[in-house]
Amino acid sequence: MKELKLYLGPNHPGMHGNYSVHMYVDGDTIVRARPMPGMLHRGFEKLMERRYWMNNLALIPRICVPEPDINEMVYSMAIEELSGVEVPERAHWIRMIILELARIANHLMSLGGIGGPVGLYTGPNWGLADRDLILDIFEEITGARIYHMYIVPGGVRKDISEETIEKIQSFLDYLERRLPEYEDLILKNELVIRRTKDKILLPAEVVWELGVTGIGMRSAVGKAYDIRKVDPYARYDQVDFYVPTANYSDGYTRLYFKYLETYQSIKIIRQVIEKMPKKGEVWNKISVGNALRWRVPKGQVYTHVECTRGEYGYYLVSDGEDKPYRVAVRGASYPQGLLGVEKYMPGTRIDDAALWMDTMGVCAPEIDR
């Protein structure tokens, strides 16, 4: 048996971020796979200990590049819990708009992005073009397109205007008309079906073994484990939505789930717009004085939210000073992206490796942090 070593990444169109998998192959079957993180490592957790509570806001969105808002949300939730600050009602709903728009943006990108590894390049172009419409909305609400630095401990930085809400509504109408075209292009496409159906399986035992959450878990074990449902944050307990589940998790199911969840997000945002208070405060400061001297009371807390890849959490310790004492990030794709690659990628084919990374929802920066 001859073994050949091949590199997937760190610079590869099928790779998610600057991450690398060293594949030892026999023929076109992967025999061993070594995940090689570290190329994105910026020491976020350590850096956060040296920055004021508010300053970290500019740092944390970068932990997960495609979906930055969850970081702001989970960080804010942690601080709010420690300092006991009440988030204004309107801010809760505005946060949900931001988070769900971000979810849609991320799903569009990864739904279209499947076109990369399978060779269907219309997909990514469509996905990115429609995501850009969401970025326009983000720009209007927050002042930035990707890294919003908008959800802050105690609320949100700016109020949202009526015009923006109308713009969001017309975007949702557009997207609802547009989504069936995605189905046509991607989900009914022979290329995608052949490459993902009954391939890249994620059995229930592996889910329990590794601690996979999110779409991977829900499609494999048939349980609606979604933080928005099981431990609702913001005002998710006041909106009605459905969490798709299945008992067979192949690449195609997980892809299809993203498509289904996009509809649910649209439904959530519509309810939010209807139910949110029409005016009111949006930010209660977490502490007294100026932002250079804000303090968070002593204590430790773990907060979590549901991101597109699963449970995303921050464990945060404060010693009562103006900077965090320790922050640990639970990246949602950490188990499958690191241990999963090593243990369960072997046995698949070379051309499946990129698809494996894609449909397992691996986000390299949150593994490296």
């Binding site: 920055r51 806001l57 740092l59 630095m149 700016k158 100026n290």
Partner: protein
């Protein structure tokens, strides 16, 4: 899961996309006519140099360290600002806008401009002015609003006795901050230290406020004593010039620097001072210094000189040290124990204070000259003045200092009861007028259960009046009647009895050059009845203790002695001066003068010894 079935005509669907408009923008288009950013876009910065005070708060909050403050020597180095402006490195900037949200003056803002393409890396580093990176006026983008503001603009409220309690009480009315309040107030400080330049004593204000924030009062006390040996006094009745320039004051209420200082001294026990400060006296010179007058300047000089190893003797004409602090600040503002806290520590350093000894009468200046190497004169503006108007020589017409001293001594239980009038007329609108009016009001209330005090000032509005706003507001609450805009004509005396004062309407206090030159409308007069009149029209120095030949060598202009920057009197090298007689009445100025004179005296003696 079953895949959806695809229609037979599916391939034909592609044709419909031919007619769709593309959502992308061509590359050459975006360079020539960039898409307009949204209204809140966080683009390149602009900074209004007129408004910017160079406080550097933007550079402190910057999470990426992109903002560096750069010194500009051509900028005027004036009080309330620093000659520096922020520069921004767009290689680091993350466009978070925290700098805009925390800017103390609101000068730093962001525009909607976002496109900069260059091969020259230096062009990504720039110093924003009111024009953006391409020197074009671009519309503003992200704007700070009330919601996103990152400063603490509201002052922590100080507990003060209610007016009903105050008007019959000489117990200190301002209660001081609790620990929580002090930390809250200290956390509003942005650590810009702009106040330190304005403070005459250049106190390490930012340092001691940080000490309060970190709850390290021992270091706080050390920081106070670096520049000011009278913190308990200055924490109560300083003119707090620091607060008028406080950078937070541009958009909100300035940090209560004075009360914070008081918080430190109130919360460190006196008996631990020596242990905490642990000041070592290095025996440096075998020289003796005499100080005339135990007021703020004299005590300050004594403190600093004794730390340098000099032997200090202070001569004080009254029976207790303090000078103006002894009789000037009424007990409800400055209780004796606060002053004693300060003076006891100074005494513990070995400073000798000889009271009841008036230089020029009990001991002559020549005698002092023989006994001591150097003399420091800090005799203050210790004579009250009266206006030269008709009837001013009546026995019930007082100058401010006499009546203040009588009242304070009576309140202490050390003097006879002063005459308590049915109706008091106070002429003047400064803080001394307030002290007189409010002290007498208390005595009236204690004596008769009712009060009648009239304060008449030339200034026509409360804003123009030199008294602190707090004093006016509190005085009103207690029942002082204010009549702004009246100048006295004469004191009316009938059959040897004081009847009141006749006033005429003042139409203008300052002329167009801003000089004091009041103009009156003689046709409008008002008579204010009263059986006692106090004129608070400034104080004057008394130089009678200085022999004529020495006075001839000195320059005295408008009652003030001319000295060099170290307080050395011009023409008399062994004589130093400070306090009111050099810089006019102000406690903290006196403290600063004492510090500078101590340095000057040390320098003078060291040079003398070498020769």
């Amino acid at each position: 899961m079953k895949t959806p079935d695809k229609s037979f005509f599916a391939p034909a669907k592609a044709w419909k996309y031919l007619t769709r408009k593309p959502v992308t923008i061509p590359m050459d288009d975006i360079l020539t006519t960039p898409r307009e950013a949204s209204d809140r876009y966080r683009g390149f910065h602009v900074n209004d140099w007129e408004k910017c005070i160079g406080c550097g708060t933007c550079s402190k909050i910057c999470p990426t360290d992109a903002i560096t403050m750069i010194e500009f020597t051509e900028l005027p180095d004036v009080e309330g600002s620093k000659p520096q402006r922020p520069s921004i490195d767009y290689g680091r900037c993350s466009f978070c806008g925290l700098c805009v949200d925390i800017c103390t003056t609101g000068s730093l803002q962001m525009t909607k401009e976002y496109l900069h393409i260059s091969k020259d890396p230096n062009s990504f580093f720039f110093i924003p002015t009111d024009e953006g990176i391409h020197l074009k006026k671009e519309p503003l983008g992200y704007i700070r609003d009330e919601n996103s503001d990152l400063l603490g603009l509201e002052r922590e409220e100080m507990e003060i006795d209610p007016p009903e309690v105050r008007k019959t009480s000489f117990i200190e009315m301002v209660k001081g901050f609790s620990k929580e309040q002090a930390i809250k107030e200290a956390s509003r400080c942005v650590d810009c230290s702009i106040c330190e330049k304005t403070c005459p004593a250049h106190m390490n204000i930012a340092d001691y406020i940080r000490d309060i924030y970190t709850n390290d009062l021992e270091t706080g006390l050390k920081d106070l004593y670096k520049t000011n040996p009278l913190p308990a006094v200055c924490g109560r009745m300083c003119t707090h010039k620091c607060e008028t320039v406080c950078s937070i004051g541009h958009r909100g209420e300035p940090v209560a620097i004075r009360w914070l200082k008081r918080y430190i001294v109130d919360n460190v026990p006196q008996e631990k001072y020596s242990e905490i400060l642990n000041q070592e006296i290095i025996k440096k010179a075998n020289a003796k210094v005499a100080i005339i007058g135990a007021g703020p300047a004299g005590l300050s000089a004594a403190y600093f000189l004794s730390l340098m190893g000099y032997e200090i003797t202070i001569y004080e004409e009254k029976n207790r040290p303090g000078g103006v602090l002894n009789y000037g600040g009424p007990s409800y503002r400055l209780p004796d124990n606060a002053f004693e806290q300060d003076v006891n520590y100074i005494k513990s350093l070995g400073v000798k204070i000889i009271t009841n000894t008036k230089v020029g009468k009990d001991i002559t200046l020549e005698e002092l000259r023989e006994k001591f190497d150097v003399i420091f004169a800090s005799t203050g503006f210790n004579k009250g003045r009266k206006l030269p108007i008709e009837g001013a020589d009546h026995e019930k017409v007082y100058d401010s200092l006499t009546i203040l001293e009588d009242m304070k001594n009576y309140v202490r239980g050390e003097g006879p009861k002063p005459y308590i009038p049915k109706s008091l007329v106070v002429i003047g609108g400064g803080n001394v007028a307030m002290d007189v009016a409010r002290s007498m009001l208390r005595l009236q209330n204690l004596e008769n259960g009712e009060s009648e005090v009239h304060v008449l000032s030339l200034e026509r509005t409360f804003d123009e009046m030199p008294a602190d706003e707090d004093e006016i507001v509190e005085g009103k609450e207690e029942g002082v009647n204010f009549h702004p805009g009246w100048g006295p004509v004469k004191v009316i005396v009938e059959d040897g009895k004081l009847k009141g004062v006749l006033f005429k309407k003042c139409v203008e206090v300052f002329d167009e050059n801003g000089r004091f030159n009041p103009k009156y409308d003689e046709s409008k007069t008002m008579m204010v009845e009263g059986d006692m009149v106090v004129m608070t029209v400034g104080q004057a120095p008394d130089y009678s203790y200085l022999p004529e030949d020495i006075q001839n060598k000195m320059t005295i202009e408008r009652g003030k002695v001319k000295t060099n920057e170290y307080g050395q009197v011009e023409g008399v090298p062994w004589l130093f001066a400070g306090g009111d007689i050099v810089n006019g009445p102000d406690i903290i100025h006196g403290v600063a003068d004492g510090h500078r004179a101590a340095q000057g005296i040390d320098k003078y003696i060291m040079e003398e010894k070498v020769i």
